[in-house]
């Protein structure tokens, strides 16, 4: 993975940069010691590491604004960071860049049940929000598996999802407003406790922008009342095809479950060996369907789901009858990643989305690739929305295996695009999928996106080297070549 060539001039000015940052953020808020910098050298994509030039940990919006303005003046790049759990390398530091850690923004500013929202600082963890409102029976719906650790600022940047996002939406559907700072230090407020923005949906483009457009310093999130009940049905199928058909039939029947997760045989076996959830081992495909809502609804839908499963060849069915049993049903799925970690020294988690109907084909082609690359793969799948998480098993100590795993992963993502899907459903492009972007988008598509970047950060100083495979200067992107003066295509229907 090639990052933009470090600017030796900037590296040579490190002392001056540190001094100017210290004038803004006093004391321990500026980190220069190499041992301390190590803590920031990578995010959840641990294969890529780089010590930052310096780390700055501001604690007020005004400090963030001054840091960014100063860096812009000095022509220094900035990489924002929340908890560093990104799986795509979005928070990977730059040798010639300032790492801007948002960890000190860790306060919940306001909980407003009458308006069903909370105003929080970006360094608050995802679960921290739900915990703060749980006493009143509320929660924040998007629930990435990393929710104990990841921050809401990181969630906004990645537009993170979770197992419940089929029914309750991704981050973007649950964020009502932000305060943010542009690279030139400008502080903006978008949205708030009211709905929509009354102009362009700038909040919509910020969400999922992977820290390339601005630094989020405050977030207003929507709160929901917890569903009265939730029950899970565990279903086993003799083939992946039948499992996939069952998912389609459930949705076709008008049912949008709270969660609908699928695992393939290798994932089932790894999970069962790890947590002993009582998963059947003689099935090819395991489906968890969680229904939530009022008890009357849940009971009604459980019956319908069981009937649909029967019609689609389910050979195993178990319905949770208590909260404990529901948690057991989920235990294997929730532990799937560490379970795979137990049977392999390393694993590489992929994140493509496909039209669900392509599932059997994709699984079959993936198996062929696994054989070609001599690597194993286990699949967990957000089945409701087609978001696939193939886990590629490898051993980093065996020379060449990491590279093979990466090539395998890239082939899987290209396959996702080929069947009509996309490169990433929730983990983001970051550095990981950057060079695959041309498989999904044309040069023109990517240039238009980069022009949007220019509107926010014309010097390209905020988190460069992520998302876009080729960095163009804004001046170059802004040029327009129009010739003529006459209507060149007179055959357009006109009246």
């Amino acid at each position: 993975m090639k990052m933009p060539a470090p600017d030796s001039g900037v590296i040579a000015r490190r002392r001056e940069i540190v001094d100017r940052l210290r004038a803004i953020v006093p004391g321990e808020g500026v980190i220069v010691d190499e041992n301390e910098l190590r803590a920031y050298e990578c995010d959840g994509l641990t294969a890529y590491r780089q010590l930052p030039l310096v780390v700055v940990l501001p604690s007020t919006t005004e400090q963030v604004s001054r840091v960014l303005k100063t860096c812009k003046e000095m022509g220094v790049k900035v990489v924002p960071r929340g908890a560093g759990t990104s799986l795509s390398g979005g928070a990977l530091p730059l040798e010639d860049g300032v790492l801007l850690g948002m960890g000190k923004f860790n306060r919940i500013l306001e909980v407003d049940f009458d308006n069903r929202c909370a105003v929080v600082q970006p360094g608050v963890t995802n679960l921290g929000i739900s915990n703060a409102v749980a006493h009143a029976g509320f929660y924040y719906a998007p629930d990435p598996s990393s929710q104990i650790a990841c921050t809401i600022g990181g969630n906004v940047a990645e537009n993170s999802g979770g197992v419940h996002c089929l029914k309750y939406g991704l981050t973007t559907n649950n964020v009502m407003g932000v305060e943010m700072v542009l690279m030139d230090g400008t502080i903006l407020r978008l949205g708030g406790k009211h709905l929509d923005q009354g102009g362009y949906d700038l909040l919509g483009i910020i969400t999922g922008s992977e820290g390339l457009l601005g630094v989020v310093t405050e977030v207003t999130v929507r709160l929901l009342k917890k569903p009265a009940t939730a029950r899970a049905v565990l279903l086993g199928f003799p083939t992946n095809e039948q499992g996939g058909d069952c998912v389609a039939a459930i949705i076709g029947a008008g049912i949008i479950p709270g969660g609908m997760e699928m695992m393939d045989k290798p994932a089932i076996h790894a999970a069962e060996a790890f947590v002993h959830a009582g998963y059947p081992l003689d099935v090819e495909s395991l489906l968890i369907v969680e229904l939530d809502g009022p008890a009357a609804e849940v009971d009604h839908l459980i019956g319908r789901v069981e009937a649909i499963a029967g019609q689609h060849g389910a050979c195993y069915s178990r319905v949770s009858r208590s909260e404990e049993e529901r948690l057991v049903v989920w235990a294997g799925r929730k532990a799937a990643f560490p379970a795979v970690g137990r049977i392999s020294p390393d694993y590489y988690c992929m994140d493509g989305t496909i039209p669900r109907k392509a599932l059997p084909l994709v699984l079959q082609r993936m198996q062929e690739m696994a054989e070609r690359y001599s690597l194993r793969v286990a699949n967990v799948f957000h089945a409701g929305d087609g978001n696939l998480h193939p886990l590629i098993l490898y051993d980093a100590n065996i020379p060449g295996e990491l590279e093979r795993a990466e090539l395998f992963g890239a082939d899987i993502l290209k396959l996702c695009v080929e069947v009509g899907g996309v490169l990433t459903g929730e983990h983001g492009v970051g550095v990981e999928k950057r060079d695959l972007m041309t498989h999904q988008f044309t040069e023109t598509d990517l240039e238009q996106q980069q022009r949007v970047k220019c509107a926010f950060d014309p010097d390209g100083l905020l988190n460069p080297g992520k998302v876009f495979p080729v960095l163009h200067r804004c001046a170059e992107l802004g040029r327009m070549h129009i010739s003529g003066g006459k209507l060149p295509f007179p055959d357009i229907p006109r009246f």
């Binding site: 929509d196 102009g199 362009y200 969400t207 009342k225 009357a296 999904q440 023109t444 220019c454 357009i492």
Partner: protein, 401 residues
């Protein structure tokens, strides 16, 4: 005055028309079928690009929850197709054509996305932007490009579909859109709480929205507005009506209605047919469609809805009602355009749009909420990043945008 109208049948033809406009420095008015021409600032353009010939369903897979259609496809056709498959656009798109003197069912899906509107279910299922998954369009450089995707879950690249939804044709000419579609509810019911003052009514709505019963509509009609409803139980109530809608599977609606009836102290329950008729009125602002009064839409924090409404009524003669649990105020103003009063009532906590007014008023009063300087500057730069020469719908949203 429109001198000529391009009516492309393909994206390539649309790009040709834009290239012509660009090379002649001629702005274009961007039209679906023109049903919302009365919404926004008047556009000064001698030429128009009309997408109404770009029709047809490109791909529809109900069980994938995704629909791809060409931008000029009439909404009536889209909705009929979805209804056949017991699906819907969950954001409950309003049909505002009658507000501007048109017939119901006139709009196109491209126009809907460009206007970014949503109905009463906005509080539960989000707005148009939440369901706009991807698109193909021509930008102001005459380039055909795409953004987003054709699957329900996607974070690859910037979420440009969000930005396009609600951009009123000022950023690009949409040629194809992909939207998320969801199952239509099996049934619905509406709880009535009658005769409450606005503050007390808001407490009812808030209590319902704080319950776990997945309320999908929460509105308040003051007595004079309620009296105009076509639903007998509402019109005949003889006072104001607070309304709470439940939707979903039969047994679920029955159970939730029973629970809420007690908790809210309801005066009655509307069945599915009455409920559908009532929420269509609320969604389409039918109560204010007849008269030609300036019509405002105010989006504010829901709990402050009654206070905003009271402040507005204290400074200008108007009729209004609340939707979105108090967060949406529809106000029809008598005497003058009401702009100052409306914007003072909203303050910094929301925004107000002049949804209908004579052209001269829309030319002189900011139709969209005035933006703080840094947001206005960013808005200008975003506009230029798509349409550097400013040829699409110039000034439709703000002067210069």
């Amino acid at each position: 005055m429109t001198i000529s109208t391009f009516r492309p049948e393909t994206a390539a033809q649309a790009a040709d028309a834009v290239r012509w406009a660009l090379s002649n420095a001629e702005p274009l008015e961007v039209l679906g079928r023109g049903s919302k021409r009365g919404l926004g600032r008047p556009v000064q353009a001698a030429h128009a690009i009309d997408l109404s010939a770009m029709t047809g369903i490109v791909a529809y897979a109900p069980e994938e929850l995704v629909l791809t259609v060409r931008a000029g496809t009439p909404m009536a056709e889209v909705q009929a197709l979805l209804a056949e498959n017991r699906q819907q656009l969950a954001f409950e798109p309003p049909d505002l054509a009658p507000l501007y003197g048109g017939a119901a069912g006139e709009g196109t899906i491209g126009g809907l996305v460009a206007a970014g509107l949503a109905g009463p279910r906005r509080i539960k299922d989000g707005s148009c932007r939440d369901h706009t998954l991807g698109f193909e369009a021509v930008n102001g450089r005459a380039e055909v490009y795409k953004a987003g995707g054709k699957v329900v879950k996607n974070v690859t690249g910037y979420d440009v579909p969000k930005l396009i939804a609600g951009s009123f044709g000022t950023l690009s000419v949409l040629t194809e859109v992909t939207v998320k579609v969801l199952p239509a509810p099996e049934t619905s019911a509406t709880m009535l709480v009658l005769g409450r003052e606005p503050d007390a009514a808001l407490r009812v709505l808030t209590q319902a929205l704080q319950s776990p019963y997945e309320v999908s509509g929460a509105a308040f009609l003051p007595a004079a507005v309620a009296a105009r409803s076509g639903v007998a139980a509402v019109a005949g109530a003889g006072g104001s009506a607070a309304l709470v809608r439940l939707e979903g599977f039969g047994p679920s609606v029955t159970a939730r209605a029973a629970a809420l009836r007690d908790e809210l102290g309801c005066d009655g329950v509307l069945d599915a047919a009455e409920s559908a008729a009532l929420w269509a009125e609320i969604r389409d602002v039918s109560y204010f469609s007849a008269a030609d009064r300036p019509l405002w839409k105010l989006s504010v924090p829901p709990a402050s809805g009654p206070a905003v409404a009271a402040a507005l009524q204290a400074s200008v003669a108007c009729e209004l009602y609340l939707d979105w649990g108090g967060g949406l105020v529809w106000a029809a103003v008598d005497g003058g355009d009401g702009a100052e009063a409306v914007r003072a009532a909203v303050g910094a906590n929301g925004h107000a749009t002049l949804m209908r007014a004579p052209e001269s008023v829309r030319a002189s009063v900011p139709v969209f909420h005035p933006q703080p300087a840094p947001v206005a500057a960013l808005t200008q730069r975003v506009k230029a990043s798509f349409d550097p020469a400013g040829i699409f719908n110039p000034g439709r949203m703000h002067a210069g945008v």
